[in-house]
């Protein structure tokens, strides 16, 4: 290129660059003598604006700026799992070794350890024709996950030479391809991909199977599909992060990308510690072996926070392309939107609603639309599910980020401050939450559990709705004034709220509940409601039933019935009969 660029002005993370013929938009650049990483955001004649992903204090006008000539990319390959990165995929463990306990600037490290040797099994031979995305080698990345190395999505050709199986680093050339136009391409374990460009797929497939999370209120009332998008909005202290942690721990995705975007440092430490110890019930391996962590905490540079959700999404798509089901937990998308607003403000763009730039909705849409259930280039099926936390200011769901997010997600788990104050966790409000996936998934549920599941769910939802309305009346006149049938509704709804909707994430048995147990619990609780109608029909006060302690026994099913012996629940039908019959006998 031969053009030399230099710093002209500095305003926080926004640096203006003069010289040369102008860089291209979205190019990754190195800024200043320290070589801080940045990205070109706008170009005018003679002046380029760069957003810098690191603290800019100490930069001098006149310091050089060099372009990498390529858009902001990250290196994808084995070694991403069980690892923790910052917002632009620099490995934090390696940074710690290099710069100590505090993060220094200007450290340019590739995401992957380039010295580590992997045991590679080649799956191709010379003469094979490889299409884009074809798998050419396999590596056991962690005991839980087999890593399939793929031809980059924009490359295809005929294999000229292949190395034998053996142990290689991510930079070793394992095979050479001759592309259609006669050029050669070296296949390595890792390849680079620009974070802002979605990785191509063959086809989008219809969404038809749920992501099972082991959380009762989610699996039963507001299910999310594999390849779907959900938002968890809630004011602070309502339990967004705990819910995200629970989903990351127990959902039946193969890979979890946990994205700490502008959140607390201690929370990321907690994830690191906890996920290293907790065992995945399916693979019997520590959860960390299926997890990629991205930590751009609130005090790390704001521009990197903006980039972090794309970094996370790109990693998720990479594993999806291998045929895995990936779930991204983005905590929190509001912090990302605020980063967008902050940079937009520094660029002196015209603000739209509440200071957010006018392109907020389109950026949100771009992000959420990268989720989906796909037929991948490697000929497999894989999915990316996005679960984004939203932190609305003041818990007010009418603000722009929540409102715009609602347009692009089909599952909305609204967390409620009042429930959190009463320590009802998860504090997902069952009247304001919704899931549009229920219909898409009904076939799946019906195939496994027959029509019973849908019936029970509908009855339970109706009961809860009835209770909500009754509680309005109770607020005015007290519960003693209600007729007995309504008292029964309130009592049954109480059992459902405490025994079913409330779930203790710190209890060994209750933290994860298999869906079969959920159905049985629903069944037995609705049976209680039906059976107790006998008392109502004979005008016997429901309060007499309370003395038998049957309600408390039902509420405690979640603790008392172990997950590996759910047939125990069947005995509760008899207990309900006994309790009701005893009351009937007395009258």
């Amino acid at each position: 290129m031969g053009d030399s660029y230099y710093i002209h002005g500095i305003n926080g993370p926004v640096v203006t660059v003069h010289g040369g013929r102008g860089l291209s938009v979205m190019d990754m650049v190195h800024v200043g003598n320290l070589g801080l990483i940045g990205e070109v955001v706008s170009v005018r004649s003679g002046e380029t604006t760069v957003q810098v992903y690191e603290e800019t204090a100490g930069l001098l006008p006149g310091e050089p700026v060099t372009s990498t000539g390529a858009p902001m990319s990250i290196l994808l390959g084995p070694g991403l799992l069980n690892n923790i990165f910052d917002g632009i995929a620099r490995p934090l463990r390696a940074i710690e070794k290099k710069s100590g306990n505090f993060i220094a600037r200007g450290i340019n490290l590739a995401a992957l350890d380039i010295e580590k040797r992997w045991d590679v099994k080649m799956t191709i031979k010379p003469g094979d024709t490889l299409s884009p995305g074809a798998v050419f080698a396999e590596t056991q990345e962690t005991p839980a996950i087999l890593h399939r190395s793929m031809v980059p999505p924009n490359i295809s050709g005929t294999v000229k030479s292949v190395l034998p199986d053996g142990s290689y680093t991510v930079t070793d050339t394992l095979a050479v391809l001759e592309t259609v136009n006669g050029q050669t391409f070296e296949l390595k374990l890792a390849h680079e991909w620009p974070i802002r460009r979605a990785r191509p797929v063959v086809n989008r497939l219809p969404i038809d199977r749920p992501l099972i999370t082991g959380q009762r209120i989610i699996d039963t009332l507001f299910p999310i599909a594999k390849g779907g998008c959900a938002a968890i909005p809630g004011p602070f202290g309502a339990g967004k992060t705990v819910t995200q942690h629970q989903l990351a721990k127990w959902s039946d995705a193969d890979i979890i990308v946990y994205l700490g975007c502008g959140e607390r440092g201690n929370e990321m430490t907690q994830v690191l510690e906890e996920f290293g110890e907790l065992i995945d019930p399916r693979t019997k391996q520590p959860l960390l072996n299926r997890t990629v962590l991205i930590a751009n905490t609130s005090n790390m540079p704001v521009a990197a926070r903006e980039a972090s959700i794309y970094t996370g999404m790109t990693i998720a798509e990479y594993y999806r392309d291998m045929g895995y089901h990936v779930a991204i937990m983005a905590d929190s998308t509001s912090r990302w939107a605020e980063a967008l607003r902050e940079i937009s403000g520094r660029l002196e763009e015209m603000p739209a609603e509440e200071g957010f730039p006018a392109y907020l909705p389109s950026r949100l849409a771009e992000f959420y639309e990268r989720a989906g259930y796909m037929e991948t280039l490697s000929g497999t099926e894989g999915s990316v599910t996005v679960i984004g936390a939203v932190s609305p200011q003041g818990g007010d769901f009418s603000e722009p980020v929540t409102q715009n997010t609602k347009r692009f997600v089909r599952c909305f788990w609204a967390l409620d401050r009042a429930l959190a104050y009463a320590r009802h966790y998860p504090a997902i409000n069952w009247t304001t939450s919704y899931s549009e996936y229920t219909d898409d998934l009904s076939a799946w549920y019906e195939k496994r559990f027959g029509t019973k599941f849908a019936q029970l769910r509908t009855r339970m939802t109706n009961l809860l709705h009835e209770e909500t309305q009754l509680l309005e009346i109770v607020k005015l006149i007290g519960s003693d004034m209600l007729p007995e049938d309504q008292k029964l509704t309130i009592e049954a709804a109480r059992i459902i709220r405490l025994g079913f909707l409330q779930q203790n994430s710190f209890h060994d048995t209750d933290t994860y509940v298999p869906i079969e147990k959920q159905i049985k619990m629903m069944d037995v609780m609705m049976y209680f409601y039906d059976k107790a109608q006998e008392l109502v029909s004979r005008n016997i006060p429901i309060s007499q039933l309370r003395e038998s302690g049957i309600a408390d026994a039902l509420i405690r099913i979640k603790y008392d019935v172990p997950n590996d012996n759910i047939d125990l629940i069947d005995s509760y039908f008899g207990k309900i009969d006994d309790a009701v019959d005893a009351v009937l006998a007395k009258n």
Binding site: N11, G58, I84, G100, G265, N266, S298, G345
Partner: protein, 471 residues
């Protein structure tokens, strides 16, 4: 040889603009010498080619375009640090104001600090006993945590903070304990109150004070918490102290940020605060924590007064999103004479769950606090019902809840400013209060725990005291 620039091109609020400047770095310190001989300090906040914008800490009063010279120091704002800081008093920008002369610095550090690598952080688990039941029992403070007090003007948050400082201790460890106190925009009386309190409790030799009073310049106010936290990090991670940082009042700090932002002509976001207020507050609050392999810790207790007692105001709102919980004070409790006026329902300690229970405090602590929360939340329902239909019309259970609520506020929350309760006292008190309620109402505690601790009628000893008190 340093270049001195004569004169200025523009003055706007606390900002100076210099043209024709070369070789000046972003965030560099500048010294402005007035013709009168007065020295002022500032910091470069924006560079555009040869034009540099400087914010002046002491304000621009008395500066004209001609009467000053500007020198650049070549490095960002640094704070001189030494072990001798303990017991000293500094102004908001870290200059000694106690007349004892300058420090002999051991090292100098950039006051902006750098982010602790999340990998290096140690997850905080050991709890700090404050001797206050509402905190120890319900929203336990953990070492390395940032737990703000959300207050309102006129509520006794200063007394509460002073009591925490006086009584705070860690059970298993008697390592050195230090306090860094940062006053931002508080009145002289408030600063004096704290100074006197530290003195009376004999803590003064362990306290480093940074005072930016209400009449001091706002730019200095923006530096105050950063200076305080730089000192705290130095004492914690270099000298192994467990440092408790008290910062008051975050609201004044945020207002200073807003004032400064508007003088720079930035686009305002909610209520006129700049859009980067979240990142700015995070750069302060996130400097709490513990580090693997290092002995010390930084625990923050920031105090903020919610404007108009509104918890949804941007300042408490953004703070709550960053900090690990909050302790909320309530005007209604205060008016009923309850001290400390901590309203437990919105109060929360996020790190509590991993720092209490068996092996930390007592096995029954998690379930007990959960039950107390749940029961007290039902008290609120019963009260709002009673206000409509009258207390006499309530069901028996609801009446019991009313009774529980009254006793809970009177005996559990309320305590004297000099009463230091042990954790056992606090928990036993909790069980006593729960005995007001029938056993089948206690749905958050499992049966084994109930058989062990629940004693129906345990309330009688308290109730006796209560009836005597009534006479």
């Amino acid at each position: 040889m340093k270049i001195e620039y004569v004169g200025l091109s523009e003055i706007n609020g606390p900002l100076l603009v210099l043209d024709g400047v070369r070789g000046v770095a972003y965030d560099e310190m500048a010294e402005i010498v007035l013709d009168s001989g007065e020295h002022r300090y500032g910091r470069v906040t924006q560079i555009d080619g040869e034009r540099a914008v400087i914010q002046v800490f002491e304000g621009t009063k008395g500066i004209s375009l001609e009467n000053c010279h500007t020198r650049f120091s070549g490095h960002p704002m640094e704070l001189a640090l030494s072990h001798e800081m303990l017991g000293r008093v500094f102004d908001g920008a870290g200059r000694p104001v106690d007349g004892l002369g300058n420090l002999y610095p051991d090292e100098k550090r950039d006051i902006n600090g750098s982010a602790i690598n999340p990998v290096s952080r140690q997850y905080p688990r050991s709890c700090i006993y404050t001797g206050i039941s509402a905190i120890d029992g319900m929203s336990t403070l953990i070492r390395g945590q940032k737990l703000p007090i959300f207050s309102g003007s006129g509520l006794r948050h200063n007394e509460l903070a002073a009591q925490i400082v006086r009584q705070a201790k860690v059970a298993d460890d008697d390592s050195d304990f230090a306090i860094v106190f940062a006053a931002m925009g508080v009145k002289n009386d408030t600063a004096d109150f704290f100074r006197k309190n530290f003195e009376e409790s004999g803590a003064l030799q362990r306290v480093v004070m940074f005072l930016n009073l209400a009449s001091d310049p706002i730019i200095e106010r923006i530096l105050t918490p950063r200076c305080a936290l730089t000192a705290a990090e130095y004492l914690a991670f270099k000298h192994g102290y467990h440092v408790l940082v008290i910062m008051t009042d975050i609201t004044s700090y945020c207002e200073a940020v807003r004032e400064f932002s508007s003088s720079k002509g930035e686009i305002p976001s909610r209520k006129g605060y700049p859009s980067y207020l979240y990142s700015d507050l995070a750069s302060i609050y996130e400097r709490a924590g513990m580090i693997h392999g290092l002995k010390g810790s930084v625990t923050q207790v920031p105090i903020l007064t919610m404007p108009n007692d509104d918890i949804n105001h941007p300042i408490p709102d953004l703070t709550g999103y960053i900090t690990e919980g909050q302790i909320v004070l309530d005007r209604d409790l205060d008016q009923r004479g309850v001290y400390p006026p901590i309203t437990v329902l919105p109060s929360l300690s996020r790190l509590m769950k991993d720092g209490i229970g068996e092996g930390f405090t007592r096995e029954d602590h998690p379930a007990l606090s959960n039950q107390l929360f749940a029961a007290y939340s039902k008290v609120q329902d019963a009260r709002s019902l009673a206000s409509v239909i009258g207390e006499d019309e309530l069901s028996d259970t609801d009446k019991k809840y009313m009774e529980f609520g009254r006793l809970f506020e009177k005996y559990f929350i309320q305590q004297s400013q000099f009463e230091n309760r042990t954790i056992d006292q606090t928990l036993d008190l909790g069980w006593q209060l729960l005995s007001v309620l029938p056993r089948d109402e206690l749905d958050r505690i499992d049966d084994d725990m109930l058989s062990k601790y629940y004693r129906p009628g345990a309330i009688s000893s308290l109730a006796e005291k209560d009836s005597k008190g009534a006479i």
